[in-house]
Amino acid sequence: MKRRFALGLAGLGLLAGLWFFSERILFAMNWTNMGLDGAEIIAGLRADLAAGRTGIVVSDLPCVKDRVALDLSVNLTGHLPRGEQVIMRISVTGPQAMFDQIYLGPPVPVIRVDATPLCLTQTGPLADTDEEAFAYLNISFYDLEENQFQSFGSEDADPIFAWQDINVELLERPEKSRSQGVTRLKITPAM
């Protein structure tokens, strides 16, 4: 009985180990060399880090409509690469976003940003059906030592600004998106 239990446990351990390593193997397969552009991109990242541009980078754009500020939190699950020379950049892109980057630095599982500025076309609280609430999230990893990068994004936008607190699952195996495109992350509201 004990032997069966031990064998079962070992089998489960083996499966879990394979799964654990498959994520890393698939992640490693997705690195893309930056080639000719690498030196300039890496220099830009190092300059941003040195200058402390590691949080939200607000665009210097006028907003002639209703400007509001939202707090955002991003909770990441999935494989996060490690290494002194690996940098993560999170960007949010949307028609109303008055900023682009929300984080630049070592890979971390939780990001919180206060007062991200939005320029809305209508007043009132955002709902997840509003056009104003939709945005794209892009998470890029840069290996400064190996001159390579990889991005996690989607061909579909999500109502990030209505949800504000979001869970993001990084997908090493890309999936079909809602619009028959491709997605490499799943975004859901944090409860």
Binding site: L26, M29, N30, T32, M34, G35, L36, D37, E40, I41, S59, L61, P62, R89, S91, T93, G94, P95, Q96, A97, M98, D100, Q101, C119, T129, D130, E131, F134, A135, Y136, N138, S140, Y142, F149, S151, G153, E155, D156, A157, E172, R173, P174, E175, K176, S179, Q180, G181, V182
Partner: protein, 310 residues
């Protein structure tokens, strides 16, 4: 070059080109699992089979896909082969085909992800089909906006006005993704916040309408599924008439040589830094057509005028 007219306006035609990256094996596995499986079997068996890659719709055996020597075999395992230069080729074709009546012809291309030789090929085509000194390799949307807003051509005192812009790039609802999936995707994104920075005076042709054609996917629809989106925003800000699609667009005719062989049509390859891609010095053979996804989005090319008068 046109004469400086009495009212002293010089018209520009602009062709804007985004980047096209190789998205890799796992991406192809999701987008084209059957083709990828077939290509893998063919690679193993040594047979020739066309695999056109992530963003190309389907291979046409009578087209230029059956290219130089083992080009078809390249398709089996190299998703860059036909895709990497497709936007640039369409941009060069735009200079040839769509620039009639302009005093200057301008080619602006996002140069991220290309090898030195690939950039050189685009620059050479630009030197041939754009006006002298009017080919620009850029890496950020902010530079694109600067170039569009230039009030004068260098060394000329007349006002610069834009007669027509053609945009060849990946597109998402509310976003012209000039650097889609690339290392500078955020800096190369173009949304309504960027549209607001365009100078409407550059599009004021005095008695004639300026036009903007977006050949990118889904420029005419919002993330929420309404028609308009970035296309309407461009029309409202610039005063130009904007033509765009709500569905994805299809660049699969880029290298279609019709009844001619690849050699007769002048198709060639650029092999550099481990990258092997199709190219033609005069750009694309044929233009961009509408795709069929997402099926819930309305089909056809939409026209947007300032103020929402579609």
């Amino acid at each position: 070059m046109g004469e400086e007219t009495q009212c002293c306006i010089l018209k520009d035609y602009i062709s804007i080109v985004g980047t096209s990256q190789d998205f890799g094996l796992l991406y192809s596995l999701v987008q084209h699992p059957r083709q990828l499986a077939r290509a893998a079997l063919n690679n193993l068996s040594g047979a020739e089979q066309i695999f056109s890659g992530g963003m190309m719709a389907s291979g046409n055996p009578n087209s230029g896909y059956r290219v130089i020597e083992d080009g078809a075999a390249q398709m089996d395992r190299n998703t860059d082969y036909a895709n990497k230069m497709m936007f640039a080729a369409q941009g060069v074709r735009g200079l040839r085909v769509n620039s009639g009546g302009a005093d200057f012809k301008t080619l602006i291309y996002f140069n991220t992800g290309y090898t030195t030789q690939q950039r050189a090929a685009i620059e050479t085509a630009g030197a041939r089909y754009a006006s002298p000194g009017r080919t620009f390799g850029i890496s950020a949307t902010s530079r694109l906006i600067q170039l569009i807003n230039e009030p004068h051509f260098p060394g000329r005192s007349c006002d610069r006005r834009i007669a027509r812009i053609d945009i060849y790039t990946h597109g998402l609802p509310d976003d012209l993704a000039f650097g889609y999936e690339g290392p500078l995707a955020a800096q190369q994104s173009f949304t309504a916040t960027h549209t607001a920075q365009l100078d409407p005076e550059r599009f004021d042709l005095v008695g004639r309408e300026a036009t903007i054609y977006s050949w990118g996917c889904r420029t005419a629809i919002t993330s929420g599924g309404s028609t308009g989106g970035l296309a309407q925003s461009l029309a409202d800000t610039t005063g130009a008439t904007v033509y765009a699609f709500a569905r994805r667009t299809n660049f699969s005719q880029t290298w279609n040589t019709g009844s001619r062989s690849a050699e007769d049509a002048g198709l060639n390859e650029i092999v550099s830094d481990g990258s092997r891609v199709l190219w033609h010095p005069a750009g694309a053979m044929r233009g961009v057509v509408e795709g069929n996804t997402p099926s819930e989005n309305p089909p056809g090319r939409f026209t947007f005028r300032p103020g929402g008068d579609e």
